[in-house]
Amino acid sequence: MNKKPIIRFENVTKQYDGETILNDVSFEIESGKFYTLLGPSGCGKTTILRLIAGFTEPTEGHIHFRGKVIDRIPANERQVNTVFQDYALFPHLNVYENVAFGLRVKKWKKPDIDAKVKEALRFVNLEGYETRAISEMSGGQRQRVAIARAIVNEPEVLLLDEPLSALDLKLRTEMQYELRELQRRLGITFIFVTHDQEEALAMSDEIFVLDHGIIQQTGSPTDIYDEPINRFVADFIGESNIVPGRMIRDFLVEFAGRTFECVDGGFSSDEPVEIVIRPEDLEITTPDRGKMKVRVDSQLFRGVHYEIIGYDESGNEWLVHSTKRVNVGAEIGLDFDPEAIHVMRFGETEEEFDRRLEAYESSESGGAST
């Protein structure tokens, strides 16, 4: 935690043709971690990457790299390299020359280039492909060439712009493992951009969830999944049931016409809130045993589970993932733990959220935690 950040964004705003793409964004990137910028298209995640790479300059604010402001330093003088979404491999050069490109720019000596390129190709399991034309490589192989071309320059930060989006599902999963493994072996910072929440959850140390040019939430995959800060994050990461509710007092919440015990606190009493319950946290039981009664509206078989949609008496929709089959039209009971209920405050920022979390967590454990 005390490590000095390698990259720091200080109130960065980026406007393009009068449109605000990034709105007063500040964050820090530490060395040696796998970061993911996650968000829907147009949320500003690629812009952050382009700002770090130096393809574009901030309209306002500053970008620091190892403590120095790099706002106006052109891309070719920065210590970062990029793996592009379309790989951007030079079609007129073969695999070897693509990988060697950066070293040739730096005017390295031939034997050094040779050794380094071979090493990089070995790193991505592409030995023996040196003389191949790019057009002869498959999607997955091109991906590896693009990675080799970037890492051969020994960047301190590797930027990856949706590099897996062009691959098919199976290869994508495979590459997720490989990229994670590669990051560990290289020990450098990866900043990975994606709109695929599963990808983000699977690979990252830290996720930045972005929407409308603002970082909505920062945290580890489990933090973000379990404690989404607002409706957007809850909705974007995984599937969720989001219903309106009211906080009666700490650890007691009302929704769907009933009161429930919960583990959240730090709200003013009777504050209107939003309730998130993940579909896999809902357990199907008999109507009398459940905490809530729901009438089943539809059911789809999804392979590992059934996806059931039902409505409670107040008309809220509930999505349930269950290995049990139910009958459409039947009334079922839903059971869940107090921990499964996640309460979200309207319009809460990340700092407020963190402060509140810390406050009631320390009060709960009697000030034992630091």
């Binding site: 790479a53 891309a75 970062v80 990029t82 720019v105």
Partner: protein, 269 residues
């Protein structure tokens, strides 16, 4: 479809080809006629070819034509590539289209108007009519063609390719010489080739702006043809035909080796 429409369609194509090639073959055939006219083949002779090769005036004119073609093609390729790069850099669609419209003015303008307006221009500027005026004109009307041949290739190039090169540490000139120019090379070749053929094919513009005894092949053929049929023109045309054929085949093979679509899918005037 093919089996049903095949025969009449092919027959039609055959007729079109016959008509397209008839005049050329006709010229070739009579270039060997000892009779001296373009009818009634009397006997085989190389006499007209000898005449062509002994005609020093014609030799000079051929040389003029080739020099003008090569020089104007090279210079207009240089300018055209810069023009294409300039247009490609313009972000606003409207400005880009406006520039393209101006670019295309000389392509769609009738030769007569280009010739006449250039004649005025050179006279006003005090440039003596002859080699310089012809060269300048050919450069001027070839530039937009080169732009049109290079631009699609440039638009085809993913902008991330330039980002990638810069990301890998390449500076502006390095990006241009090692990434952009190699990528658009087929377009540049196509542009050069088109400029070459436009220059060699041009008659009207040259006819207007030439003077002081300076002549190119087209102008010379026109002058001779106005005096009636002379079979040395036939012999000359056979030679030109073979030369053009060699040029086109060479260009075609070069494109094939470069693994690119041949450029004649692209705009002609």
């Amino acid at each position: 479809m093919r089996s049903r429409n095949g025969t009449p369609a092919n027959a039609y194509l055959f007729v079109v080809f016959l008509i397209l090639y008839a005049p050329i073959l006709y010229l070739l055939f009579y270039s060997f006629n000892s009779g001296g006219t373009m009818h009634g083949f009397e006997g085989f002779t190389f006499e007209w070819y000898q005449e062509v090769f002994q005609d020093t005036r014609l030799f000079v004119i051929v040389l003029n034509t080739v020099v003008i073609a090569l020089l104007s093609a090279a210079i207009s390729t240089l300018f055209g590539v810069m023009g294409a790069l300039a247009i490609n850099r313009i972000r606003r669609r409207r400005n880009r289209n406006a520039l393209l419209t101006v670019n295309n003015v000389l392509i769609v303008s009738p030769d007569v108007i280009i010739g006449a307006s250039f004649l005025i221009l050179f006279t006003m500027a005090g440039i003596k009519l002859g080699f310089i005026s012809v060269l300048l004109s050919h450069i001027a009307f070839s530039i937009p063609i080169v732009v049109l041949m290079v631009l699609p290739r440039l638009r085809e190039m993913s902008p991330t390719l330039i980002d990638a090169a810069r990301d890998l540490g390449a500076s502006g000139w390095y990006v241009l010489s090692r990434v952009v120019l190699p990528f658009i090379r087929p377009g540049i070749f196509a542009g050069f080739f088109m400029a070459l053929t436009y220059s060699m094919d041009d008659f009207a513009v040259t006819f207007f702006v030439t003077g002081n005894g300076y002549s190119t092949l087209s102008v010379e053929i026109y002058a001779r043809a106005r005096h009636g049929i002379s079979l040395s023109i036939n012999a000359l045309s056979t030679l030109i035909f073979l030369f053009t054929l060699a040029l086109v085949v060479g260009y075609y093979l070069m494109n094939r080796r470069g693994n690119r679509r041949p450029g004649w899918g692209a705009p002609l005037p």
